[in-house]
């Protein structure tokens, strides 16, 4: 060989590395091919070819065994988790700890699942502005991608409920009877805090059950799944995914129902109705009595003069 000692030794190393691989391959495919291969095993490109074949085989097997997008998704997920971890370190870790293990300021997030993050961050409750009786929803500070990254990171820490799929949230195929059943489930499980029309209600010490009229089906589903703040968890075993869908369907139906009987007075029941009685009803009638009486007095005044 024209190459120097160094070059040769390099080639040798390459050859040494290549040999066992080539051998294993040879045993599997059969003796005729292995004869050809063994003849060419010292070819300068042999190592590269073997690597290419191996990569192709593994890649092909993987592609056959799983959906084609998964491979890239997996890689994407890894970067998403990494991105989420960075966001978490910046925006969440001061209360929840650098590894989401929880501190005195905030609970551990290991095992809360993507659904919890998607709800808390997606409704603007997190990151919290200040401690208080209850963290109120506010303007959402993260983009959808960032929320997804945070969810992915927290989900990667431990098993927990995931963000519900589109099918789980689809209420378009529900029949009237199923929606009515959802109403019954809502009144039984939810109305005692959220009010029969989902208008919300007061809890102790400044806590409250929020108004659901502005809540998206996804967030309602996630709230049931994860039980944020004062809310109990309604797991898939307690209220099945199908029942959750019916409840959401009922709430959506309430939103689309026309306000029958006139202006709804906030849907708060007898308190606003009583206010309307006094301010609109009694108020206008008393003004009218003054008008009626004053009509007479004017006439009398004219007569008197």
């Amino acid at each position: 060989m024209r190459f120097g000692v160094r070059g040769r030794s390099r080639l040798n190393t390459g050859g040494d590395r290549g040999r066992p691989r080539l051998n294993t391959g040879g045993i599997r495919v059969g003796s005729r091919i292995s004869a050809v291969l063994s003849a060419r095993r010292r070819h300068r490109f042999a190592g590269a070819v073997v690597v290419m074949i191996a990569l192709g085989a593994f890649g092909g097997a993987y592609a056959l065994a799983s959906p084609s997008s998964k491979a890239s998704a997996d890689a994407a997920q890894a970067t998403q988790i990494e991105e989420g971890r960075k966001l978490f370190a910046v925006s969440c870790s001061s209360c929840h700890g650098l590894n989401a293990q929880g501190t005195n300021e905030g609970p551990t997030l290991i095992g809360v699942g993507a659904a919890a993050v998607d709800f808390q961050v997606g409704t603007g409750r997190m990151p919290a502005q200040q401690p208080g009786a209850q963290i109120p929803p506010k303007k959402v500070v993260f983009s959808d991608e960032e929320i997804a990254a945070l969810s992915a990171y927290v989900a990667s820490l431990g098993p927990g409920p995931s963000v519900p799929s589109k099918e789980q949230l689809n209420t378009s195929d529900l029949t009237d009877a199923e929606i009515a059943e959802g109403g019954e489930l809502f009144r039984t499980n939810c109305a005692s805090c959220h009010n029969v029309a989902g208008k919300g209600g007061a809890l102790t010490w400044g806590k409250y059950a929020p108004n659901l009229t502005g809540s998206s089906p996804r967030h309602i589903y996630e709230a049931m799944l994860t039980g944020p703040q004062q809310m109990p968890v309604f797991s898939e075993a307690v209220i099945t995914p199908d029942d959750k869908r019916k409840i959401i369907g009922y709430l959506e139906a309430l939103k689309t129902e026309p306000s029958r009987g006139g202006f709804g007075l906030g849907g708060l029941g007898p308190v606003t109705e009583g206010l309307a009685t006094w301010i609109v009803g009694i108020g206008s009638l008393v003004i009218i009595t003054v008008w009626i009486a004053s009509r007479g007095q004017k006439v009398k005044g004219v007569k008197g003069k």
Partner: protein, 563 residues
Amino acid sequence: MSSATPKAVSAPLEFLDERVGLAKLVKSNLRKVFPDHWSFLLGEIALYSFIVLLLSGTFLTLWFKPSMQEIVYNGAYGPMQGLHMSEAFASTLDISFSVRGGLLMRQIHHWAAMLFIGAMTIHMLRVFFTGAFRKPREINWLIGTILLQLGLIEGFTGYSLPDDLLSGTGLRFVEGLIRSVPVVGTYVSFFLFGGEFPGDAIIPRLYPIHILLLPGLILALVAAHIGLVVYHKHTQHTGSGRTNKNVVGYPLMPVYMAKAGGFFFIVFGVTALMGALFQLNPVWIYGPYNAAQVGAGTQPDWYMGWVEGGLRIMPNWETHIAGFTISWNIFIPGVGLLGLLAVVMSIYPFIERWVTGDNREHHLLDKPRNQPTRTGFGVAGMTFYGLLWIGGGNDIIATTFHLAINDITWFLRIAIFIGPVIAFMITKRICIGLQRRDRDKLLHGTESGIVMRLPHGEFIEVHKPLPMEQAYELAAHDRQEPLDIGAGVDHNGVEAPNRRILRLRARVSRFWFGDAVQKPTAGELEAAHTHGHGHDDGHGELEAGESEAHRPEVGAGSGKTPT
């Protein structure tokens, strides 16, 4: 009938006159005079909304099924399809969605009910603050208090009939109220509900009470109430030409007929407008009653809100005696407050009569300022009621104003005792201030705004004498001195036998009238008007005159007209 009356009119009238004595009846009543003041129309609102209730209620009975028979709903409202519910609730849904004009009628009926009790309340406040309950009208006041309470029960039974989640929860509240009565409570509850709550008897039982028994009673009492107004003649506010022995106003026919008739249609119009524009009691959102469910923000209608408030702020006190529980936490605010309303309202006229010892008839109304203590009591009562109202809506207030419900509760627990006292004192002081102003006007006239400098350098403001009409109005009421019981011993030094009660009465009377500013006596007026023109003694003299007025000789100035 004059000869000009067409025969078509006169013939049937003559027919009636010859058989039922129409002419005599009409002659005596058509020219009946009613005084004119807006506050006298408040009771009419109640009357007219009651008529609206009778009309709209009759419409509703045509479709409502007072039955607790369980059925499966398959009516017009989608989100209730296939639910199990009582026939009462299903028929309420049908009235709302399937009967033409049904929802409007339901809402008119309910709004009219809310207005009915509201109008009775403000009417009663007017009667209270102007002292229209005094002799000879105590019985009519009593009828009024009974009417108000019947109205509360009538309203509540109506609220319960649709058998929706809200009304069922209200019935549960009443069941708890009844059960909180020691010993008999559970028996009465079982009797009323035909067993355990909710059972299947309560709505069929409430129905005849709501549509027959109570309306009948209310109607009869309203007739008696108005009959007594006609018999006593209406009270009037003080003013020139108005005395305790006359009534100044317009005759029933034609002026009041037109006014009252027109006002009926206005009240009907307002209820109809509210029924058309504002959603009331959307039972289809509440859903059928189910004892396992309850909604946040469940409240009674406004007129029971104060009792609800009492319950909400009451500490959780219970006593256990020999295996029985006495729920003071329900009994005191629930039964106690309703009882308090009934008792205090009924006996107040008699308490005041005992304190004043006044046995005369009163047809002239008091200005609220001239009865500082009574007005103070009234405002204290309103404050008490208003605070309880806040309690009844504490959850809505908490969420609306971002407050802690517990803080509201604790505020109310304290304010319910302190608030009325503060309200009483402030009101009384305002009344006394206004009285002082009136007295000032009577003695010195009104301020003219003209400032004069006297030769020796003093500045004075020229006061114009009050016009006679105004002066009359300001001085038309009686002076009310605290009861003077004298030394209490006869010339032998023997104490009168009922001295102890007398002393108590004197003490109460001092509380009642001791601080009130009395209108000037005839002598004081005379003095002020003769030497007061120079104004060289200015306001200093007024103060002196005032303090003097606190202890005048008894009966010095009971004259009604200033001279």
